[in-house]
Amino acid sequence: MKCTEFLARLDDLIDDSVTPEMRVELQGHLGRCGHCEVVLNTTRKTIEIYRSHEIYDLPAGLRDRLHAAIMARCKKGC
């Protein structure tokens, strides 16, 4: 397996949607290719960082204000 073929399957590997046979092939490539191993690990970490950090927070005050405005309009029938 070449690196380009591995990269084409990278998402399937990350999303755990590969067949057992394909997983063996991909793992085999990883065992021989340090670069692809780095790409896999750091891509996983990229997703994890974005999932675990709230970069656009909705402050409580703003949340309450928006919420009140929405519900006031809904009660009037929008």
Partner: protein, 208 residues
């Protein structure tokens, strides 16, 4: 008023189905529950699309109002949340279009770029790269990095990886084919990885 059918193949109807039914029956407090349940996610999505706080607030408000008005059109063959996200994305794109004085804005924007499709930075990251930055610095890095992605990639990444929609739900929400979502997701992930590597790679000589 039509009754919502449970999604095919699901044994238990989603809890939102009961709330939507109550709203349809005139119980506004049930809508209050739905708004509180999803407002943070909808605000985040609107902020990612518009990249502007004021527009995100307006888009979020309008999305919830539009969803309330159009609740009769919700068929229940998709999740309420997915349906709401679709409205929010459209409202956000409309705000973006207004800000750009009518210039066409779509989720297909800039997707032809090949940047980041081939990994170039192959240095490993520090074991806990976030530890090298305080929360404010890290937030700034993550915001700046994702804002630099082409819009068509950014929205797919946010829906799929941050908000947890499935590939099928993301495709349905954005009106894209499943192969298009998969292709954009891969490129978005690789581009973000490449850009974050500038901050997170393991430094030489033992420095942090």
């Amino acid at each position: 008023m039509a009754t919502i059918q449970p999604i095919a193949g699901e044994l238990e109807p989603h809890p939102d189905v009961a709330l939507v039914e109550r709203v349809r029956g005139g119980d506004v407090s049930a809508y209050d529950t739905l708004v509180r349940k999803y407002d943070r996610q909808i605000f985040r999505i609107a902020q990612h699309v518009t990249q502007n706080r004021e527009d995100a607030e307006d888009a979020m408000q309008d999305a919830f109002l539009k969803a309330y008005e159009k609740l009769d059109q919700f068929q229940g063959n998709s999740k309420f949340y997915t349906w709401l996200v679709r409205i929010a994305v459209n409202e956000s794109l409309m705000r973006l279009r207004k800000r750009r004085t009518g210039k066409m804005v779509s989720i297909d924007e800039d997707v032809e770029t090949e940047e980041g499709s081939v990994p170039r930075d192959l240095a490993d990251w520090a074991p806990d790269p976030e530890q090298n930055y305080n929360q404010a610095e890290l937030g700034e890095i993550l915001r700046k990095t994702i804002q630099g992605l082409p819009q068509g990639f950014r929205i797919v990444f946010v829906l799929r990886d941050v908000e947890g929609l499935s590939t099928e739900e993301t495709a349905e929400t954005l009106g894209l084919s499943i192969p298009a979502v998969k292709s954009r997701l891969l490129r978005a992930r690789l581009q973000l990885r490449e850009r974050l590597s500038r901050y997170f790679h393991r430094k030489r000589g033992g420095e942090k």
